[in-house]
Amino acid sequence: MSLIDDKVMDTLTHQGDFIATPYEPKGPVVIDCDVKNIYYGDFRAVRDSRIPIEKNKVTGFIGPSGCGKSTVLRSMNRMNDLVESFRFDGKVQYHDHDIYDKKVDPVIVRRYIGMVFQLPNPFSMSIYDNVAFGLRLNNYKGDEEEMVVKALKRAAIWNDVKDKLKNSGLSLSGGQQQRLCIARAIATEPDVLLMDEPASALDPIATRQIEELMVELKEDYTVALVTHNMQQATRVADVTAFMGVDISKGGRTGYLVEMNETRKVFEDPEQELTKEYVRGEFS
């Protein structure tokens, strides 16, 4: 057992403060995420990772468990502010402004940068109200019902729920709940959508539908996607960021290993570590 552990540790450890070659964005950048350090209390979760999210593209985050990809994703709409011990050192430039500027209220950031979570988390209210929640929050004046139906259709759940929109969102199965949550997140057409392993609870067909949705969404918006599924990354991500875990200093600190166009990361990676990871030699 220790044999296996040692091998993984060896491949994961970079001696010294490795810093990834900066990724040169090919188009306009919506979120320029420049992490110096992210701490939870004394625990340094992520260090030195510059991850620009390009407009109208899907940016994928891959990497072993505990590498901080979710942490970075959640730092991009200040979700981590809910964690009391969280401390962000760096800059997240959204369009022209740093979202960590003291004058910026995190509530406003989250209105523009929506999020889909790993576990389905519908509200204790009807399916319709779940999807209309964001519209009402944003004081949407147009045809609410039309937007709700549209969101449910795009999230590939309309056929499952069209006859029971008044039922509680919690009466659905796990996979249906997740698609409902995706509908809820896209109903307000957020400028950027952060998705944290959105398909991990879905069957292959629903997964494909959600992947198609991501590709469709990037026409008008921007998507950042954390995934454990490498095929998913190759299918939908235009750009991929690979993160690793640094255990050389006793802790487990995540950092960016390599970021590039997805094809390049998977077919001709710059780093040996990336090559081993995409080949599935450790996880």
Partner: protein, 325 residues
């Protein structure tokens, strides 16, 4: 011997064993113990109702339904009616529930939604739980010596300025509905607060996360997401609190004035069923005791109906919000 047809053919290496005879014995012993415990509670309740019924039977036969609609209680004339007591019981409990419930739910929100630091939260919680530990007589005394003198000028002012409003239409001359309901509210509060706090705490973190993730403000998160999610638990707390208020005896007997009176005014003296029982019982003759038993039966019926109604509302919210059958 335990029937296990699999051991022989299963892999030799397996460590799996059937549970022993003793394991099964313990299992069924515990089951029967649990059945016995549950059954004895049902039997106890049935016995209490039956015994009350037997004692009250003569009064039920003599007064019939008129007992419930009658408004005078006069032992020497053998004239018994509990409508004022029913009114007083429900009215005082309702006011107490409105005040105590509002504060109780407010406290639950304050304690669970990140307004106070975890250490402060424990302190607050302990203090509120302490309220439940104060004996009802002490509340009664506090009401007589502190609350009523404090209330009299306030009531006077309310009556003079807003006297046209039915709730303030009379003057407070000592004991009355207002001090009784306020003390009841304080007694109801810990129950509502504790159960609502648990209801809020049971909401999974991911729900809160989802609400904040939508870009909701703290107020929107609490009002639009957390409250509906916790509603069935809060309702349970309110029903329990209301039940407590209905049956509360000592503090009410000391504060409500014990006057058979049906009035909307908060400052009029009134009476409740429990308080009638407590204050009349010691000197009651046989006929009056039978009437008191009838009154006890009425109180029991009210409590039962309130609990059933509460349960129905709770089931409805669970179905509506949580999709449970």
């Amino acid at each position: 011997m335990i029937f296990d047809p699999f051991k022989a053919s299963a892999s030799d290496k397996t460590l799996s064993m059937p549970p022993s005879q003793a394991d099964f014995l313990r299992d069924s012993a515990f089951r029967y113990l649990a059945y016995f415990g549950a059954l004895s509670i049902v039997l106890l309740v049935a016995y209490i109702v039956f015994e009350l019924g037997v004692q009250a039977l003569p009064a039920i036969q003599t007064h019939g339904f008129g007992f419930i609609t009658g408004t005078t209680w006069n032992a020497s004339e053998e004239e018994f009616g509990v409508l004022p007591e029913i009114w007083g019981t429900l009215y005082s409990s309702l006011i107490a529930l409105i005040i105590g419930g509002t504060f109780g739910v407010g406290i639950a929100i304050f304690l669970t939604q990140g307004f106070v630091h975890a250490k402060m939260e424990v302190t607050f919680r302990t203090i509120i739980e302490l309220l439940a530990a104060i004996p009802s007589v002490v509340y009664g005394l506090w009401g007589i010596y502190v609350l009523i003198p404090m209330l009299v000028p306030v009531a006077q002012w309310l009556h003079e300025t807003l006297g046209w409003f039915p709730l303030f239409s009379t003057e407070l001359g000592g004991p009355g509905l207002a001090p009784a309901a306020l003390v009841l509210a304080i007694m109801v509060l810990p129950t509502v607060a504790a159960i609502s706090t648990d209801a809020f705490r049971r909401i999974p973190y991911k729900v809160k996360e989802a609400a904040y993730g939508m870009g909701a403000t703290k107020w929107e998160v609490i009002l639009k997401v957390m409250l509906p999610t916790a509603s069935s638990g809060i309702l349970a707390g309110l029903v329990l609190g209301f039940g407590r208020a209905l049956g509360e005896t000592m503090a009410l007997a000391m504060l409500i004035g014990n006057v058979n009176n049906i009035s909307l005014s908060l400052f009029d003296p009134a009476n409740t069923l429990a308080s009638l029982l407590a204050s009349t019982f010691p000197e009651a003759g046989q006929i009056e005791i039978q009437a008191l038993m009838y009154a006890a039966l009425v109180l029991l019926a009210i409590t039962l109906v309130v609990n059933l109604l509460g349960l129905a509302v709770q089931q409805y919210t669970m179905r509506k919000f949580e999709g449970k059958k």
